[in-house]
Symmetry: C2
Subunit: 190 residues, 2 copies
Amino acid sequence: MRVVQLLAASPEDFRTYPVEQLDLTLAGIAGDRHAGATRPSDARTPWHARGTPIANTRQLSFVSVEECAEVAALLGVPEVDPALLGANLLLEGFPELSFLPLATRLQFPSGATIFVTEQNAPCVHPARKLAEAFDQPRLAALFPKAAIGRRGLVGLVEREGMVRTGDAVRVVAPPGAVSRRQAVPEAASL
Amino acid sequence: MRVVQLLAASPEDFRTYPVEQLDLTLAGIAGDRHAGATRPSDARTPWHARGTPIANTRQLSFVSVEECAEVAALLGVPEVDPALLGANLLLEGFPELSFLPLATRLQFPSGATIFVTEQNAPCVHPARKLAEAFDQPRLAALFPKAAIGRRGLVGLVEREGMVRTGDAVRVVAPPGAVSRRQAVPEAASL
């Protein structure tokens, strides 16, 4: 897997813009809209009152070239620009990126490491941006369904460092993961 | 699910001791051995040089009454004390606690909320403590196999607040979780 494009967002706009490198800090991407040790609770965390300060487990988001191409094909548009999705990293070489197990780590040559916290669910912001970009209002309604399971992942920075365009990405599976199947043989002897 | 026992650890000892309540902060349990916005990388994170400061996604650990009883039965001992496991919360009413999906939230009446980051893998510390407690050296070798898939989970504090003995626990499944099966029908129309 490798880094095809890096993007960041200014505080005013949901959309991201291409940059050459990202400076990952333990509070997220330095200067990015989603950086911060905490974030205010929003529609994604309805089990907290809106605006409650909560740990920022959505510091950055990443999508794959392959899944973006699938969404574009489903929508009948030439491409889905990760900038319109507000993504921070566009990765290539792991087609089903959205199904990487949570707690997987993505490590870059500098040592910078992302801890995968959640799947990203399609929301209305990119749907509207896509509809505007292609001047096709129907896309706003079609995007969420086309993007489900292809919207990439979000994570937090486990270790600080720089990420650069073209970087190789090391994928570290969660080492403690135990399946129910592994536990069953022991249970049988109870 | 409810809170049966709460425990904390002093900085000097792996074992936890019972307390009436836990003060959850965004850096973990106030005063606890495992509190901190960061922790030094250790044997559990061999993709970082040992001692590298990394985000603390293991602020606290929790086990279930039911799984501890299973481990005790497998080891042929009367009980497995969560204090010897270094656990912070002993929960009851969700027998397969260790298989809760990652990114599940456990929310307490105060609003305090834990974000589940990883399964906990059996390690040598509790194995030795158990062997000492029962004066049975064989337990040190048997524990890891008996405890696999029953060792509970670790997490970080998503929202601050107090947790009290007897608290009811609200389990919030990760809302963005999409299965491969959900994504496939769309893929078929590509």
